[in-house]
């Protein structure tokens, strides 16, 4: 349950970014969450709502975009999407492909607001 820590970091970062970009009222916080990030989406949503209370972000919506896992297959020379349960093998040629090029993200992607 490190989603509370993640939510705290996220809110801190969002507040800082909002102030830098001159957004006075934040209505939505857009996050990209990798399937291999180790963060549970629903727990993060719950934690976010708790953590924003009493901050200028209170009432802002958390919008999560899930990022699928993508590996780079050296044999094919291509990036390939990987389905769960994440066997690190190229879905096309079945050779081991351990280089993860996407799917680990815990990223504050954008802020939506006014001001």
């Amino acid at each position: 349950m490190h989603e509370v820590s993640i939510a705290q970091n996220l809110v801190e970062l969002a507040l800082q970014a909002a102030s830098e970009k001159g957004i006075r009222v934040v209505t939505a916080v857009h996050v990209r969450l990798g399937a291999l990030s180790g963060v549970a989406r629903d727990v993060l949503e719950f934690a976010f709502d708790v953590v924003v209370e009493g901050t200028p972000l209170a009432g802002a919506k958390l919008v999560i975009e899930e990022v699928p896992v993508k590996v780079f297959c050296q044999h094919c020379g291509e990036e390939r999407p990987l389905a769960e349960p994440f066997r690190m093998r190229c879905p096309a040629c079945a050779r081991p492909a351990e280089k993860v090029v996407a799917g680990r993200e815990i990223e504050l992607h954008a802020l939506e607001g006014a001001g």
């Binding site: 970091n9 970009k21 006075r24 690190m88 081991p96 492909a97 351990e98 815990i106 001001g115």
Partner: protein, 236 residues
Amino acid sequence: MAGGEGTVIAPRIVEVRQNVLKKNDALARELRREFEQAGVYVVNLVSSPGAGKTSLLAETLARLGRRYSVAAVVGDLATDNDAARLRRSGARVRQITTGTVCHLDAAMVRAHLEEWRLEELDFLFIENVGNLVCPASYDLGESLRAVLFSVTEGEDKPAKYPPIVHTADVAVVTKIDLTEAVGFDRERFYAALQDVRPGIQVLEVSVRTGAGMDAWIQLLERSYHALTRSSPKSRL
């Protein structure tokens, strides 16, 4: 702040694109640099509760402590039982009590290193909170992340917890003296592990019988010498 009085406030979307854990990652990078400069090899031990981190660590500290200066920080939600147990090896040990937090982060590690001069250490072990989920996200500046699986946990743990296996440098199978007793299927375990992390190095140990301990210690010593060769340590 944009928009003076009288201007229309239009809704907008602003791209930020920042890693939520960037503060931890930055601090971990700083720690890693400090560790390297001080010539201290740092191992982060992660596993589920009860896999045998503390037993392995106690034996490792005792063995390495004969020739090297070793220290450990150990994370738990409560009690300093592990630190007390590990101190019997003669090593310097500090307990990190996290309260309700289920993982260690770089700031906690840094705060517990303040009393020590890193230059005086050869090895620093960080025993993470027993948890196969949350510690995966937090870089602690370690040189090596070792994930432990005990034979009593069954064969499919690696398949169930891909993120931590994915960030590990080496896997250590513990309690192998119980392999027969619990019917641990080695081949299934290796297949599950290699599926999630192809090519990962695996060691098998039993702290109780001593099996495999030499190989584990040799791996640590070799890695330490590789580190200190690249950044020679000025001994006092």
